[in-house]
């Protein structure tokens, strides 16, 4: 299996690599239940967490994941950074790199920013969301949640509901789930599910009729209505609620054991009915816990090993692991 040196997106990962990451998250799921949630595994390592776009949950999740592995974090937030003063992205990350972190987690409003950085820095880069491109850790934690609840990842009918056009969460999930044979239905107001999305993966179905999108669904992914990424006149909130809010009644059109996922932050009463958000089919809180586990697994494997060509001291001795 090709060893990962960065996590830039799901599109270029193989199913084998994805399954490996999900398997490696398992011990960290168990770890979240430990009374003492602190490892020394990455002690002395520093992870730069550079968020050029506001975020709370993903930033806290990455920071907590690093800290539970024993690594220190260096935080950079858009509001407080010199970006506001006009510094270019590359100068900012080179400055961070000069402080010698062992890896960098990046969120940026421009699609492709993490890849741009990865090409120029020597350290592992983890994409925490770039523009409308990808949000790979979200898709991985969603996959882990589905695999745990349903026993396997392959072949489900997945309905992705909402502003698919502007959603990097949707894009990463489409890439991931189609690799595992999912039948994906994209549903939302026509302007948010344009024909161009069909080029993302084979066998994508588009509809603006929620009822037909929900029929037979095994998994319903509700997206947040992203007011910050919408430039065209937005659909009025009450029209959206009327046509696309996932209500308990509508959810009954899906399979009885269908899962409801939401990447958060959730706007109750807009895209999702509180009864669904808090109902037995909702996986929202598991997604948060699984996010920690997935990010710990990624940091464990990407950060802190010696360069691959370095001599391996343990290999020069017998019973190395004893």
């Amino acid at each position: 299996m090709q060893q990962l040196s960065h996590l830039l997106g799901i599109e270029d990962l193989t199913t084998e690599q994805i399954s490996f990451i999900l398997d490696q998250a398992k011990p960290f799921q168990e770890f979240q239940r430990h009374p003492l949630k602190k490892l020394a595994t990455l002690r002395g390592k520093t992870v730069a967490v550079a968020f050029f776009e506001p975020s709370t949950r993903t930033r806290i999740s990455f920071t907590t994941a690093a800290s539970r592995l024993g690594a220190d974090t260096m935080a950079l937030q858009a509001e407080s950074s010199s970006l506001k003063k006009g510094e270019s992205l590359i100068d900012t990350v080179r400055t961070i790199e000069a402080m010698r972190p062992d890896g960098i987690v990046i969120r940026h409003s421009s699609s492709g920013a993490p890849e741009f950085v990865a090409q120029r820095l020597e350290i592992p880069v983890l994409n925490a969301g770039d523009g409308t491109h990808e949000h790979p850790t979200q898709a991985l934690l969603d996959a882990l949640t589905i695999r745990d609840r349903k026993g396997k990842l392959e072949g489900w009918n997945v309905t992705i509901l909402g502003d698919v056009l502007h959603s990097r969460v949707a894009r990463s999930n489409i890439h991931l789930l189609t690799k595992f044979g999912a039948h994906i239905t994209l549903c939302g107001p026509a302007m948010w599910v344009p024909r161009e999305l069909e080029t993302l993966a084979p066998n994508l179905r588009r509809t603006s009729c929620l009822e037909s999108a929900l029929e037979g669904a095994d998994v319903v992914m509700v997206l947040r209505v992203q007011t910050e990424r919408i430039h065209e006149p937005a659909l009025a909130a009450d029209e959206y609620v009327l046509g696309y809010q996932l209500t308990a009644q509508r959810l009954r059109l899906a399979r009885p054991d269908a899962l409801v996922l939401h990447p958060g932050p959730m706007i109750r009463g807009l895209e999702i009915d509180p009864a669904v958000a808090d109902g037995p089919q909702s996986c929202v809180l598991e997604q948060v816990t699984n996010g920690l586990a997935v990010r710990m697994a990624l940091l464990y494997h990407l950060i802190g090993g010696a360069p691959l060509d370095a001599p391996h001291p343990a290999k020069d001795r017998g019973n190395a692991s004893d």
Binding site: Q3, F20, D23, Q24, K26, P27, F28, E30, H34, P35, L36, K38, L39, A40, T41, L42, G44, K45, A297, Y300, H301, G304, G305, A306, P307, L308, D309, A310, H312, P313, A314, K315, R317, G318, N319, S321, D322
Partner: protein, 182 residues
């Protein structure tokens, strides 16, 4: 890495007899086995711990709980390894607080695995006592770690490797001393 087999340390039958003896020793020295639990260290320690639990049940009718520990996250050589080892789950289905634990592993060598195992256990709680049971003690300690229950002590040179081969994992059952061909 090419290796050559130098000699057999234990036959299948000897492994079995040694485990029977170790099972008796553990019970005799555990004051009625109250709070006793075995912790198998992945990978071969797990198989050995399973067999010890079975042996104990057969001769004393006591059901000793057993847990499985993966020590990868607690290794002290991670920053010198290019690729971090794949993780496996730790499965300890009981609280370790106030338990009388016996860590089970196949070979005791530098003592670093056992140090890592103890760190892993402390993250789960505060055991009342931790002891160590190994099938082979081959010397060359780098840490102040000693086993309470030892199947066989073997003099080895640093270049030699003790290979414990168990039916469940390796498809054969014996312990051999091998050396590198240079």
């Amino acid at each position: 890495m090419p290796v050559i087999e130098k000699r057999q340390l234990l036959s299948s039958e000897e492994i079995n007899r040694t485990l029977q003896r170790l099972a008796h020793e553990i019970i005799e020295e555990s004051a009625g086995a109250k709070d006793l639990a075995l912790i198998g260290v992945r990978r071969r320690g797990v198989t050995l711990a399973e067999r010890l639990v079975k042996a104990i049940r057969t001769f004393s009718q006591k059901d000793v709980p057993m847990g499985i520990l993966d020590i990868s996250l607690y290794r002290d050589d991670l920053s010198t390894i290019g690729t971090h080892p794949s993780l496996q789950s730790t499965e300890i289905g009981f609280a370790v607080d106030n338990r009388d634990l016996v860590i089970v592993d196949d070979v005791l060598y530098t003592g670093r695995t056992i140090r890592a195992a103890m760190n892993g256990l402390f993250d789960l709680g505060r055991p009342r006592r931790i002891r160590l049971c190994v099938l082979i003690d081959r010397g060359h300690r780098e840490l102040p770690v000693e086993a309470t229950f030892i199947g066989k002590t073997v003099q080895t040179s640093d270049s030699e490797i003790v290979e414990v081969r168990l039916q469940e994992i390796d498809g054969e059952e014996r312990v051999v001393l091998v050396d590198r061909v240079s």
